[in-house]
Symmetry: C2
Subunit: 221 residues, 2 copies
DNA sequence: GACACTAATGTCAGCGTCTGACAATTGACA
DNA sequence: TGTCAATTGTCAGACGCTGACATTAGTGTC
């Protein structure tokens, strides 16, 4: 590593140049246009050409920002998930595993607006969630992404509790249960009429309270 | 309904004609060739044209048997899942929910050979399972299919226990937990060296025994 | 056994996703 | 201003998948 790189690693990044800012604007514009088209006319009935045309770039450029059509559909989800995971890592160490997960998800959903508003309007993000739930190909990808997140969650829980993730199945099982609750909540919310984020938050809290006692036992072995 | 149809419904179906048998043979040949190619050179690196050519039919014919390339990859899984679900429905009514699920999955895996051997060799079926686990696009579909199966399982459990699936979240939560165990077992098995079905069966039994006590409580409200 | 009927298949054209290659453009920096 | 590198556009093409229409091949009837 050169001296310059060492310095760059320690300081906050220098103000991004015109090139970088332009790239970010193009990316955000692609996400916004894509999500607007997906929510208005459906994922399958929207072509990549349409999205690219709406932002006035070539189709080839779209595929330089996103590896495939699915990826752009999950752009705001990706931000929200990072936000949630960061919230979990910030929970106090003495909190029980399930309480930490519960706190993280409720906190994250309470402050999700700030995390994504510079990319897409939160209201659009929520509408896109429904499109994902109701589009088979997107639902499949969503479940795979969820499975990947579960792995990260289980590792973090194991770390917090000082357990070996490869030897003790309990972190994975707790996370699987937790994930199941989140998914059931999201599904029921998606089937309902209420659009608000608060509704989803409350519904999730209710379900978590319902199953909490079952799994909240001490883990000090 | 005409008299003829009523009679046909009651008798076992008449011996299938040449046309029907030929169709079945073509279908099985497509599945076998597809799975052989997928397991040998990978799912992504196998084209539909290759599969069709191996069976000496046109690409268009392939797409008349399977709606897409993914579907043929799950043909033997589909049979196995039906086999498992039938096993669950055949469990004695007085068995506890988790015990019924456990019994069904262990029984099904013990007799899976007979259920699929006329379509593909069981050994090929198991190798394909690993391809699915390690191919992102197939894993995504696999998880969606699993989610659909979970819905059916939860409904069946609710029926057995006389619960309302829409009012009581416990069937879904139990099934989510159960599914998590199955998936973890399958994943660990896939990462290992052992190819045998017995190994997977034993591993699953071990994991189920591990979490069983946590959730096996009485459900009589 | 020849016949008409219908199901199965083949052929062809075309759309949409995605990629590699190369040329043209545009910001960065001396 | 001019050089360098990053970004974008253009083009050709592979692959998945579908509709339309012609062709082939079982099925039941006379």
């Amino acid at each position: 590593m050169t001296t310059d790189e060492a310095v760059a690693d320690q300081k906050t990044p220098p103000p991004p140049g015109l090139r970088e800012r332009k790239k970010q604007r193009t990316r955000n514009a692609l996400v916004r246009s894509a999500l607007e088209l997906f929510t208005r006319q459906g994922y399958e009935h929207t072509t990549v050409d349409e999205i690219a045309e709406a932002v006035e770039v070539s189709q080839r450029t779209f595929f330089r920002y996103f590896t495939n059509k699915e990826e752009v559909a999950f752009a705001s989800q990706e931000s929200a998930e990072c936000h949630f995971f960061a919230a979990l890592c910030g929970r106090p160490a003495d909190e029980a595993p399930l309480a930490a997960l519960r706190g993280a998800v409720l906190d994250a959903w309470g402050s999700i607006g700030e995390a994504i508003e510079q990319m897409v309007p939160p209201e659009l993000h929520m509408r896109m969630y429904r499109v994902i739930e109701s589009t088979p190909s997107l639902l499949a990808v969503h479940l795979r992404r969820t499975a990947e997140m579960e792995e990260r969650l289980a590792s973090e829980i194991a770390r917090r509790e000082g357990l070996d993730i490869d030897a003790d199945p309990r972190p994975r099982l707790l996370v699987a249960m937790f994930s199941g609750v989140i998914r059931v909540s999201g599904k029921l919310w998606g089937e309902g009429e209420e659009d608000s984020m608060v509704t989803l938050r409350d519904l999730t809290a209710f379900h978590l309270d319902y199953v909490g006692p079952t799994l909240a036992g001490q883990w000090d072995k």
